[in-house]
Amino acid sequence: MTTAFRRSDSGIGTSISASLLVHLAIAGLFAWLQILHPFQVPTAPVYYVDVVNLPVADPQAGSSAAPPGKAPTQAAPQPAKSPPPEMKLPAKSAGKPVPAAKTAPPAVPEGKESASEFEERMNRLQQSSEARHAAAALDALRRKAAIRGSTPGIPGGTGKEAGSDYASYIRSRLVDAFQTTIAYQSKNPRIVMVLSIDRSGKVVKRRMESSSGDRLFEDSVSRAIIKAEKEFRPPPGGGTFEYGFIFSPKGVGEQ
């Protein structure tokens, strides 16, 4: 027995028509947007550099490639007696860019400045700027330290800062003492000990975060701390310093 199947959709012609209508609508939308809102290419601000006073390159001036024994054609520049003229900041042009400026022939000024002189002048400017910044930063730190009334060291620091020199200093004292006390009976003893050092440099609290189970080793650590403590200086900042130290025999981790 055969069964006759009847299509229930409206055929391919309807789909083509619908697609055509959608494409036409999108094209019209683009055209409308182009009329109302034309595309604008973002324009970068143009800065003009005055190339008139730039020195002409002189390959022999102060060249390190000069043959040995032969004096350079130009002596090293002497430090300027008067402060150098301020360098003009590039000014933003109010009008259109002037392409001709790139190709304009360099005009030679009356007092011709060599490359080395220019470099020297730039260095002096840079050094002057850096010095001003450093002085300002130092003044700010001094003011901060004066407000807190802290001791010399890391101004305003507590000794806990990353890379603190005080922590390294304490470690070095502990290492020296640990060399003279180390003793252990287990294979890989390891202790994590957090020390609290008060403003006078005394260890006021010891907290063992991780024990080795080796009493002999733990006693040797304790003895090292007591021995090293006699040489501790007060922590910077005047407060209590707290830091963790991991004690272990050298080379244990390599076994």
């Binding site: 003793a183 009976q185 006693d219 304790s222 963790g244 272990s248």
Partner: protein, 418 residues
């Protein structure tokens, strides 16, 4: 010195402090001081000698003879000058005082930490004058407990076989060779004494009934019982860690096999069953495994099997003749003997067969037995002609002769403290 800073985790910083080596603490034993009685040089000498020997063997200490003159020589902190001791480099100081009353002696010991200026422990003992060595050994055990967390084994006894009467009889002595006492008097051959865990009994092999049989003897009462009655050799018995069972080798069925029996002699299990000779069982401290010697591969080698006799695995792979294994009370090592030419040397190996280490190099050395704490070994050696009893640390250092007789002494075994 290598110091490498390490930031572990979190906000708390950590710096690594490491140092090379393993330093021995400088321990000084001040001359004993008579308190309230006239000084007696023999007491002074005996106390100093015992402490010196015990603490020198101990390992963590370098025992020094004091070169310090004190203007005040009291026992307590504040009663003696600590500065000269500190200047001499002393880390630990043992102060001893005693008084004698008739046959009794009272001894007071104090252990001081010179660096920290702390008194670490103080003990006072009273006993008969004959107990003086035991009193000093006891304080040496206490020092070990305070400084290492594990009590010392110096009050333990050593049972051994001696030929001083012409026969091989079993004797007892202090671990350092003093106070020798005879245990058996049967005029026969007595071998391989092994202590029960509490140290109050021994099992041993004796030929006194004509057949090598295992006997059990209570040391305090002197009561002795025959444990094995089967024909053939019944040898190398060893108490289980709980003291209720005995592992031994019996050849009642033709060749030597490992059996488990009660300490009264009732057979519980047969662990091996093959045509080879299986002897010298030694329990692991948790009683889950047994080390033993078997020649099933041609030559005597040390094997390990589980408590049911299964999972047999050879652990000695070097040497053609390895015998007499003994499992450390700590469980981490097995001591045994390896033949070298015409003699033997003592080795120790991990139970998995790794870490095989030679411990003796001089003379011929046999029959290693661990101290109850697993830090020391006693063994017999012929390095000086006659066979004698020696002790050493578990790593083979600090070897010292302890038996003092002129006979051949062998088969030592070290008891728990009495």
């Amino acid at each position: 010195m290598l110091i490498s800073p390490a930031l572990l985790s979190g906000q708390q910083g950590y710096l690594e402090v490491s140092a090379p080596g393993n330093r021995q603490l400088q321990l000084a034993i001040a001359a004993p001081k008579a308190i309230g009685s006239a000084p007696q040089q023999d007491i002074n000498n005996e106390i100093a000698e015992v402490l010196q020997f015990d603490l020198s063997l101990a390992g963590p200490f370098s025992v020094a003879k004091p070169q310090v003159s004190e203007s005040r020589s009291g026992l307590r902190l504040g009663e003696f000058d600590i500065a000269p001791w500190r200047a001499s480099g002393t880390d630990l100081l043992v102060k001893t005082g005693y008084s004698v009353s008739g046959e009794n002696v009272t001894v007071e010991f104090r252990l001081h930490d010179i660096l920290t200026e702390k008194e670490l422990t103080a003990k006072r003992y009273t006993g008969n004058r004959r107990e003086l060595r035991r009193i000093a050994h006891t304080f040496a055990d206490d020092i070990m407990a305070v400084l290492t967390g594990i009590r010392g084994p110096f009050t333990g006894k050593v049972a051994f076989v001696s030929t001083s009467t012409g026969n091989k009889e079993i004797y007892l002595m202090d671990y350092d060779g003093a106070n020798v006492q005879r245990v058996t008097r049967n005029g026969s051959i007595n071998l391989n004494p092994e202590f029960s865990p509490n140290g109050r009994e021994i099992v041993f092999t004796s030929y006194k009934s004509g057949n090598p049989d295992v006997f059990r003897r209570e040391l305090f009462s002197g009561t002795e019982a025959r444990v094995t009655t089967t024909r053939g050799s019944n040898i190398t018995a060893a108490f289980s860690p709980d003291g209720n069972r005995v592992a031994l080798s019996m050849s009642k069925d033709g060749n030597a096999e490992i059996y488990i029996i009660t300490k009264e002699g009732k057979q519980l299990a047969r662990l091996t069953n093959n045509s080879a000779i299986d002897i010298s069982p030694s329990w692991s401290p948790d009683a889950t495994r047994t080390a033993f010697v078997s020649d099933r591969l041609g030559k005597p080698q040390v094997f390990v099997m589980d408590a049911e006799g299964k999972n047999v695995r050879r652990i000695t792979t070097s040497g053609a003749y390895n015998v007499s294994p003994r499992w450390s009370p700590r469980g981490d090592r097995i001591a045994y003997c390896r033949q070298h030419g015409s003699g033997f040397h003592i080795y120790a190996i991990n139970p998995d067969g790794s870490g095989d280490t030679q411990l003796t190099t001089e003379g011929s050395n046999e029959h290693p037995r661990w101290s109850p704490d697993g830090r020391y070994l006693t063994f017999s050696s012929k390095r000086n002609g006659r066979e004698a009893i020696y002790v050493m640390r578990a790593d083979g250092t600090g070897q010292a002769k302890v038996s003092r007789g002129k006979s051949n002494d062998s088969h030592p075994t070290w008891s728990n403290r009495w």
